[in-house]
């Protein structure tokens, strides 16, 4: 079955804004998606979490838009919207009925051009409180909530910009000032650091005219792009790292993390398929062995977080059933990783993993919002929006041996971080026994 083909145009305004348009008239809707080439990796020490706090400020108004009015206007025309911040980038998006496209463009342009005009200490303080509650809700007040932070801190050295999470620290959030907001905006939020993708029920000629009208007057920042220097890292942690974490949880869980090749490296494609073979659903090796057959695990996972700055993370976990010997659980998980690193998967396993990948791709690209997000992503990270059409063929071309070799390169003793989460009372008991 041929994969879906997304036809698009790709151009730049004089100020550097990259504009990608894909027509799709199946439904009277349109997705607007902007990726800015700024993420938490651009934060400096003492300012962690700032890129994300800034993303919140982007909804607090600009020269011609009041606080919270952006969201109010989009919802009042029957649209949906949000923004997200990640290590490599920040994105903002709306899906609206197609006759309301111009409104969405106008709103995005107003904040790209004039955000500081509406800035106030009151709004910054308000969103600082909101973000601190987001951190509590998403991480601090959740079982196993610290694994994300511990994983990045363990896989990347302290001087590397992926060492800290996008949510940052409470202390640094407290320290964020209006001046920080202004300088961050001035440096990063410029048209030549943005990709605008528009997918849906549109007339491309009209879209080009509107984008020129609303965005064309926003000046470029000639200081961009920012050079973060050489972020490359060896494909090894230089030795195993282990940590035991006491948490308020009933079931122990063992997290594994590995330094992996950077996003875009073919070996990461192979690792994605390995993740499918090892932990992608009920037919996968880890699930079959640990959950179904040996029945020592409640659940398993394994996946890669693709990052462009030198190295990615491949991570996974296994949750123990009550009373299970954790050494046995860890050994079982590890044996499966070693097995695929030593012996290529069978033809049938690979064929099933590819069929599932193909189905996932087909499903993901059904909606205009995801297509717009992928176009922006591939343009921002790889300067190559056509990857939207070539990623699936790339996955389908991965061989059995490539999977084995990528696993052998990554799933090594000297490249693993092992975080063992224990119920607090059990951790205390273990410490006592050890004393």
């Amino acid at each position: 079955m041929p994969g879906p083909t997304v036809r698009f145009t790709d151009q730049r305004l004089a100020n550097g804004l990259r504009l990608i348009i894909a027509e799709d008239h199946l439904a009277p809707v349109v997705a607007v998606n902007i990726w800015y080439g700024v993420g938490s990796k651009h934060e400096v020490p003492g300012k962690t979490g700032f890129a994300h706090l800034f993303e919140h400020v982007m909804f607090q108004g600009s020269a011609h838009v009041a606080k919270a009015e952006h969201i109010g206007l989009i919802q009042s025309v029957g649209g949906t919207m949000n923004g997200t911040t990640w290590l490599d980038r920040t994105n903002y998006f709306e899906t609206v009925p197609s006759h309301q496209l111009e409104l969405a463009l106008w709103l995005e342009a107003d904040r790209m051009g004039t955000l500081p005009d509406a800035l106030s200490q009151e709004n910054l303080d308000n969103q600082r409180d909101v973000v601190k509650n987001e951190k509590r809700w998403s991480y601090d007040n959740r079982p196993y909530g610290s694994w994300n932070e511990r994983t990045l801190a363990g896989v990347f050295p302290p001087e590397h910009p992926y060492h800290h999470t996008a949510i940052g620290s409470m202390e640094d959030l407290d320290a964020a000032s209006l001046e920080d907001v202004r300088s961050f905006f001035k440096m990063h939020y410029a048209p030549n650091n943005a990709v605008l993708s528009i997918v849906g029920d549109v007339d491309p000629i009209a879209v080009q005219g509107w984008v020129e009208r609303y965005f064309g007057g926003i000046p470029a920042n000639p200081a961009l792009p920012i050079d973060l220097g050489d972020l490359s890292l060896p494909l090894s942690l230089g030795g195993e790292r282990r940590e035991t974490v006491a948490d308020r949880i009933p079931l122990p869980r063992i997290y594994f993390a590995f330094r992996a090749p950077a996003y875009g490296d073919r070996r990461l494609d192979a690792l994605d398929l390995a993740g499918q073979i090892l932990a992608g659903g009920k037919g996968s090796r880890l699930h079959r062995r640990l959950v179904r057959d040996e029945r020592i695990a409640q659940d398993v996972a394994l996946f890669s977080l693709g990052l462009i700055g030198g190295a990615s993370v491949t991570a996974g976990w296994v949750t123990a059933r009550p009373g299970v010997d954790l050494a046995r659980l860890e050994a079982g998980y590890w044996e499966e990783l070693q097995r695929i690193a030593g012996e290529a998967p069978s033809e049938d396993e690979l064929a099933r993993a590819k069929a599932l990948t193909e189905a996932d791709e087909l499903e993901a690209l059904q909606g205009v919002a995801e297509r717009a997000d992928r176009l922006s992503m591939y343009a921002t990270l790889f300067d190559d929006p056509d990857l939207i059409n070539r990623m699936l063929p790339r996955y389908l071309a991965v061989t059995r041996d490539e999977i084995r070799d990528a696993c052998a390169a990554v799933f090594r003793d000297d490249n693993r971080l092992v975080l063992t989460y224990l119920p607090a009372e059990q951790a205390a008991g273990d410490a006592e026994a050890a004393a």
């Binding site: 919802q75 106008w106 909101v130 037919g283 499903e363």
Partner: protein, 472 residues
């Protein structure tokens, strides 16, 4: 050639001409054995959603076997007369399909997502799962144990703990809605393969089921495909979801239930009471009212608690409309030190909905949102099939979705007030707080919001009986 150009354009653009939209047309056909087939052609959507729906779910099971329906649905894919569980998964994966079975309060569903050219073999598997499941003793026991472990996990997660404590506080002991649809520790421990098999035999009857297929069906004769696979399926007549589900409240007095978890850094707040059934005459007014109160980003609750006060990452409220009155709840997770003012602000907003007309702007924004977002909701076959499933399960008329937008447009400020007075009753609400109560209890007592029941979750509470499953 240019004078200094302004950075941006000051004037807000006017909308263009809306393109007409209608919910996709669908066609019903009844097979000889009574199975109904609904087909909905969605040109350009090659990923087909085929869902076999049985009205009747967790609300229809005996109280002492709560969780049997959900477990039965999960166990459907654990083996059939022709395939073991693993063979079934592998066969599904080779088709690039996903097939899953699940049960909710009002329905049990087996659904397949599959590219159109492989629809026929995927339907073979759906038919096999529906008509010839074997429920291996050992696999059912494993799924039961996984559910028991999940209950342990739920107790440790403040959000899940709050939902569990909330429905227990809202509903009388006679109501099934007082528990999770997947059952409680006490009832799940009793469940066996025999019970699950009996539950299926009692219910699965093609004459009461509907197969809904949506996607690009060009060149596909759905009725023929369905007839080949399902028309020969005979079963003893099942019992319909006839019984009225008890949704009695635990109390008509406002009261507080506090779960003290000393290490928590936020308080999970739930405030509410039994809400409304899906089949109510003021459904559209209720939808608009609910959007204004706690559905939109600029809803009264989110505007106040997030954008004005910074108490929370998000506050909202909504109705879970079931065959009987599912819960109405206002929800927020707030920093511990603002727990009491946050509860007070929520109560003020609930009361304010009942005491005055909403602003014309609020009404307009909510109606425009619900009307405008309607086509966005139905971009994919899965969403269209899901909406048709709702019509089947809740017994709604076929033109329900076609009438949705004009009905929302017709809602007035007076209708919104009437809906709030009928369905939002803060004086009868259960207020459930899960968090570090040591830090807010004195202030809570001083606030005089109602009688307070205190409980404390000890870390050891969640520790399970140390039993690992045995390999079978």
């Amino acid at each position: 050639m240019t004078a200094a150009r302004p950075v941006v354009v000051a004037d807000r653009p006017e909308p263009g001409e809306p393109r007409p939209y209608a919910f996709p047309a669908f066609k019903r056909t009844r097979l000889a054995n009574g199975l109904e087939v609904i087909e909905v052609n969605l040109p350009g959507r090659p990923l087909i959603d085929a869902s076999l729906i049985l009205p009747g779910g967790a609300a229809d099971e005996p109280d002492d076997l709560a969780g049997a329906t959900v477990l039965m649905a999960r166990a459907l894919t654990e083996g059939t007369e022709r395939y073991s569980a693993v063979e079934l998964v592998e066969a599904t994966e080779r088709l690039g399909a996903s097939i899953h079975a699940e049960a909710g309060w009002d329905a049990t569903t087996i659904s397949a997502d599959v590219p159109s050219e492989r629809l026929a073999p995927a339907l073979d598997l759906v038919a096999e799962i529906a008509s010839r499941p074997t429920f291996p003793v050992d696999e059912v026991a494993r799924l039961r144990d996984e559910r028991l472990n999940d209950l342990l996990q739920a107790r440790a997660d403040p959000r899940r703990r709050a939902e569990e404590a909330f429905v227990e506080a809202v509903y009388a002991t006679s109501s099934p809605y007082r528990r999770s649809s997947a059952g409680t520790r006490e009832t799940v421990e009793r469940l066996t393969a025999d019970i699950v098999r009996a539950e299926l035999a009692r219910r699965f009857d093609p004459a009461r089921m509907t197969l809904i297929v949506g996607g690009d069906l060009a060149g596909i004769d759905i009725v023929e495909l369905a007839a080949e696979r399902f028309a020969g399926w005979q079963a003893a007549p099942g019992t319909g979801p006839g019984r009225v589900v008890d949704a009695s409240p635990a109390s008509l007095e406002r009261r507080l239930r506090v779960i003290n978890r000393p290490g928590d850094v936020q308080t999970e707040i739930r405030i509410g009471h039994p809400g409304a059934r899906r089949l109510i005459p003021d459904f559209h007014a209720l939808s608009v009212m609910s959007a204004i109160l706690g559905g939109l980003f600029n809803s009264r609750l989110n505007r106040k608690l997030r954008e004005e006060k910074g108490y929370t990452y998000g506050a909202g409220a909504g109705f879970d409309l079931r065959r009987s009155a599912g819960p109405f709840a206002a929800r927020a997770a707030v920093a511990t030190d603002v727990t009491v003012p946050a509860v007070q602000e929520i109560l003020v907003e609930l009361e304010r909905m009942r005491t005055g007309l909403v602003d014309e702007d609020e009404l307009q924004d909510a109606r425009d949102y619900l009307v405008g977002v309607f086509p966005l909701r139905f971009e994919t076959p899965g969403a269209v099939v899901g909406a048709l499933g709702g019509i089947v399960v809740q017994g709604l008329p076929d033109d329900e979705l076609a009438r949705y937008r004009p009905s929302i447009e017709a809602v007035t400020r007076e209708d919104v007030l009437a809906a709030a007075r009928a369905h939002v009753r803060p004086d009868e609400a259960a207020i459930v707080l899960v968090g570090n109560a040591d830090a807010f209890l004195p202030a809570l007592e001083a606030a005089g919001l109602g009688p307070i029941t205190m409980e404390r979750d000890e870390p050891g509470d969640v520790a399970a009986p140390a039993v690992a499953g045995e390999a079978g």
